[in-house]
């Protein structure tokens, strides 16, 4: 391991690009995309280097940097990487250059556009590496604000409402989070996630709560439940979990497609990761108490969106609902691991399987959804912004390469073995069936319905006679193939060799499961 502050360097690298773009004269605006691409590729290199230096054995936090910041409010600069967030860091560093490369060059304010995307990357990386609430939250918001402006300035016709809705929902969630953590700070005097988790485990968290909030007259269990709910709501909005999802279809549909790609590919993972890193370690007992209603919500999040997607005709909306469904599987994997009833070494393996599956699914869904949205973006560019199902048809005859890529991405999304989606879903269900058979069985129709609406999408866009309006449709150019090919490779490779990813996640997941034992 090197002595360099790798994580800080990586997190701040995109900001260099932001500064460069700010001083870039307007006459050189065309250069903003290469600059941004270069910076984001540099970040990707740092991410790959990080993964290369990552020690797989033990599964402990690595690359730790900590420095006191504002001790009086518990703020400490504390970052680190383990198997739970390494894949998310890689995912972010992969998706940003991909989004930049697939994005059409904006006609208005290109420098601001690219600068905001880079700022978003800093927010994401900072959020995924932070281990102290204060700057975790800072980055959490830093992820939110550029996204808001990206939607508001470069979105579709309904962009203002969509951006406002996105902002209000996620902001309301943030407020809940912030309040919960201030209460935690009052009770414990720390905002470090590992510290808080340790305090939760030895019981001093609840005694601290009852001391600090004696005036409310509530018992510590009730207090902890309230804080748990606040944190949960804040994270659930971001993922989003049904019924907090109502902002999502509008937002995904109205945002520029490259931003949608990041919203679903990377930003949605902030919420899932928050549940894994914050909610469960700090509130294990509360999560177990609330497990049944949560699992109901998760199952609804898996099945309900697939039905809604079947009734949609807008490509982006279909994929938006599909996203809710896929993140529902992640949550299923995470929450079933908390199921308190069976204990024992065999069950530890089932829990590990579910959690490994959830972490893999986050990564794979990120890649997969990004590719799907990028392809929809290409369809939009080719047809002047059309993305209704009836605007297409028979494209396979005109664009066989595009059809092949779209087909592969769709089949990966519906969990075809041999492609990346399968391993995550298999592991999740492998853990979920023994641990929570009811929830897993109820989630099964989701797997079926995903296939129904995704194949319908494929069917309506690619098959049948060529739509008369699409007679002149062009297949992918060489440049587009070059940009999309790496993502395609990342759909195939983890499906065939899942150990590539699991060797990073598994040790940390095993340690995580060991920490879950009550």
């Amino acid at each position: 391991m090197t002595d360099l502050p790798m994580l800080t360097l990586m997190t701040l690298t995109p900001l260099i690009g932001v500064v460069v773009l700010m001083v870039l004269p307007a006459s050189l605006a065309r250069a903003s995309r290469p600059i941004t691409l270069g910076i984001s590729l540099l970040t990707l290199l740092e991410g790959v280097f990080l993964a290369h230096q990552f020690r797989t054995e033990g599964g402990q936090l690595q690359f730790i940097e900590r420095a006191p910041w504002i001790p009086s409010v518990g703020a400490e600069y504390f970052v680190g990487v383990d198997g739970l967030n390494l894949l998310l860091i890689l995912l972010t560093t992969l998706l940003i250059p991909f989004a930049i490369a697939t994005s059409p060059f904006p006609s208005e304010r290109p420098r601001l556009y690219f600068a905001l995307i880079l700022a978003l990357e800093t927010g994401l990386l900072g959020n995924f590496t932070a281990l102290n609430f204060v700057h975790w939250f800072l980055y959490w918001e830093l992820g939110l604000i550029p996204a808001y402006f990206l939607i508001k300035f470069w979105g579709g016709p309904g962009r203002r409402t969509a951006a406002l809705q996105f902002f209000l929902f996620t902001f309301a969630g943030s407020v809940a989070l912030l309040l919960a953590f201030q209460a935690l700070f009052l009770a414990t005097g720390t905002m470090d996630f590992p510290n808080l988790a340790a305090l939760a485990r030895d019981g001093s968290l609840s005694s601290g709560l009852s001391r600090a909030f004696a005036w409310t007259g509530l018992n510590p269990t009730r207090l902890a439940s309230i804080l748990f709910l606040g944190t949960f709501a804040g994270l659930a909005v971001k993922i989003p979990l049904v019924p907090f999802h109502t902002w999502l279809p509008d937002t995904y549909a109205e945002a520029p497609t490259s931003v949608t790609l990041l919203l679903t590919g990377a930003l949605s993972k902030m919420g899932v990761y928050g549940i894994l890193r914050i909610l469960i370690p700090i509130f294990p007992a509360e999560t177990r108490t609330m497990l049944s209603p949560i699992l109901v919500g998760v199952v609804v999040s898996i099945v309900f969106p697939t039905l809604v997607a079947l009734a949609q005709t807008d490509l982006k909306r279909i994929l938006a609902y599909s996203s809710i469904n896929h993140l529902g599987y992640c949550l299923l994997g995470i929450f079933v691991a908390l199921d308190p009833v069976p204990q024992g070494p065999q069950w530890a393996n089932e829990r590990a399987a579910a959690l490994n599956g959830a972490v893999l699914q986050m990564f794979n869904h990120g890649i997969n959804a990004a590719l799907l949205f990028a392809l929809v973006g290409i369809l939009e560019q080719r047809t002047g912004g059309r993305r209704q199902l009836e605007d297409f048809g028979g494209l396979r005859a005109r664009a066989p390469i595009l059809a092949g890529m779209l087909g592969t991405a769709v089949f990966a999304s519906l969990g075809l073995p041999g492609l990346s989606g399968f391993i995550g879903e298999f592991l999740i269900f492998k853990g979920a069936f023994p641990l929570a058979p009811g929830a897993a069985a109820l989630a099964l129709p989701g797997l079926m319905m995903t296939a129904v609406f995704l194949l319908t999408l494929l069917h309506r866009v690619l098959n049948g006679p060529v739509n008369p309006a699409r007679q002149e449709f062009q297949d992918l150019s060489r440049r587009e193939c070059l940009v999309l090919a790496p993502m395609l490779a990342l759909l195939v490779l983890p499906g065939i060799l899942p150990q590539l990813l699991l060797r990073w996640t598994n040790p940390s997941v095993v340690a995580f499961v060991a920490g879950l034992a009550p």
């Binding site: 809705q165 929902f169 019924p243 109502t246 902002w247 279809p249 509008d250 309900f304 039905l307 809604v308 079947l310 009734a311 949609q312 070494p345 065999q346 530890a348 393996n349 089932e350 829990r351 590990a352 399987a353 490994n356 599956g357 028979g394 396979r396 005859a397 089949f411 075809l416 073995p417 041999g418 399968f422 391993i423 298999f426 592991l427 269900f429 492998k430 069936f433 023994p434 069985a441 797997l447 079926m448 296939a451 129904v452 194949l455 319908t456 069917h459 690619l462 098959n463 049948g464 006679p465 060529v466 060799l497 899942p498 150990q499 699991l502 060797r503 598994n506 997941v509 095993v510 499961v513």
Partner: protein, 670 residues
Amino acid sequence: MENLAKNLWVIPLLPLLAATVGTFLPRRLHRVTAGLSVAALATAAILAAAAFLSVVRGGALYSNVPWFETGTLSVRVGWILDPLSAAMLLMITVVGTLIFIFSTGYMAEDPDSGRFFCFLSLFAAAMLGLILSNSLLLLFICWELVGLASYLLIGFWYSRPPAADAARKAFLTTRIGDLGFLVGLIWLYSESGTVLFYDQGAGCLEPAALSGIAGRATAGGLALGTAISLLLFCGAVGKSGQLPLHVWLPDAMEGPTPVSALIHAATMVAAGVFLMARMFPLVALGGSAELPAPALVVMAWTGALTALFGALTAVAQTDIKRILAYSTISQLGFMMMGLATGGPAVGMVHLLTHAFFKALLFLGAGSVIHGCHGEQDIRHLGGLRRRMPLTFATYAVGMMALSGVPVFFSGFWSKDAILHSLSHWAPSRVPFLLGVLTAAVTAFYMTRQMIYVFAGTSRGPDSAHAHEGSPVLTVPLGILAGASIALSAVTTPFRPWLEHFLSPASTPSESGSVWGILILSALACGAGLAAGGILYRNLGVALKTGRDPLERWVPRMYTLMRDRFRFDEFYRATLVKWVGAAAWISAALDQSLGSVFRDLASFAASAGSWLSRTVDQGVLNASFDDGCQAARDAGGLLSRTHDGQPQRSLRILIAGVIALAAGLLFLATS
């Protein structure tokens, strides 16, 4: 031998490589792709023959490799070469190679034939992986991949809406069953801790794991082994076109005919039977000769009903390929019955013989379609006996094998073995009767089809100008016909070599009862042939009225059979409609949920703004504005002194200085 097991993966890899290379070859090189595919599968066939011979000499072998780790569990996959997989291996590679060769002629004029061969090779790779895998997980993976290949090939002519619809329907229908398979797989995994079939005593099909599963019950009182078996059987039902998930298979005939021959007759649809044969130790767990395991009872009944249903439906079809498709469904039911009542060997022998003669029939149908410029309706064919003599001869061999014409045709012997085991089945006699009836109906509808297609004179412009295809088309037909006859040498009950090979433990049957069933089977076949021959002897005259002879005889029954017992209509009116309604309701719910949230947000926003406006105007503005006004007035007064004249300002300044100085002087002095 050890090396053989370790390197078994080479066999599926060969067609996979051909598919991969073919994908990246430009479209105009489609002949190269075709050649590569044929070469790859032919090489695989040679290797398969070597593997088969080595199994004939010595027992089974397998090798496992770690795939990935989760928790402390190392998930392993592996290859197995035992009689079951060796026989399948040889059948698939040989039949596959013949069909590939046939395809080079059949698809020669299609500009997309490169893609066709890529998909075919992909299919072959996945199918070979399926039968060679020593892990239920790997088997499931290949199972899904053959489903993908089937989807791609059914929808090969994607611009034709029926083909595209059929492809989607096939994938989705089989996926219903596959979800059951997946649950069964996961359940088995968590109960036995492994999904390797054989692993030096620790595999899930080995006695240690089986005895761990035996005797345990699930929540509903069902035996654990039964529950898992039934879930796995769901997968088989979907893939093998058993009732009630058979609806996709007839539609799958929209694919090119070689695809129907390879995937939807010989190999993939038989994968369900193969799966149950592979899992037989688990499926049969806890049963005895008098009281078979519940899963086997379910399989036998499903198979019996499917067999009869398929045969009856085939009677009233008019599309040459759909008749064969329903016949396949019927025969798959037969296999399931045989498997459930007589053990894996009985079902598998029929699977293997059926693969040859059904591939033969489909390729024959392909040859007819090719010769008649795409005409598939048997009412417009006819009289092809003279125009396509080779096709006629080979088709007749296939027809007789399928109908179970005694002595020379392998289908007779393998079907007879199934009827034989059915007759000994303890729980019920009904499946046996259904089986005999099905055998008779089978002979009847094949006779009908033969008369329609080959006898009499031509009834359509396309069949009038029919011509025999090139040797590429006819030679595979000849080889398959030869194989359909030759296989009887190893399947008769007097020398059941194949049955013994597949299941060394099976006991030879008593000769006395063998004769009884043989005669009964021959009688059933003869009855079917005779009925068909009598009813359709004056077909040309009968068709003048525009109605099938059978239709005139039993009109209601005929309509029901022609409408396939209205399964599709039933599903469309129930399942499809319900899903649509559920989607519609969900979307409406989602809309209203969204608007509720939006309304709540906008209500909160307007309430907040009303509150702040009231407070502002009532409290803050009242005091603040007044204060401001007073200050502004005062300022107005003061500003009069500032008239902009610099010198006046200066004067005021000087006056100020003087006043200051005076003040200071006064202070200093006093």
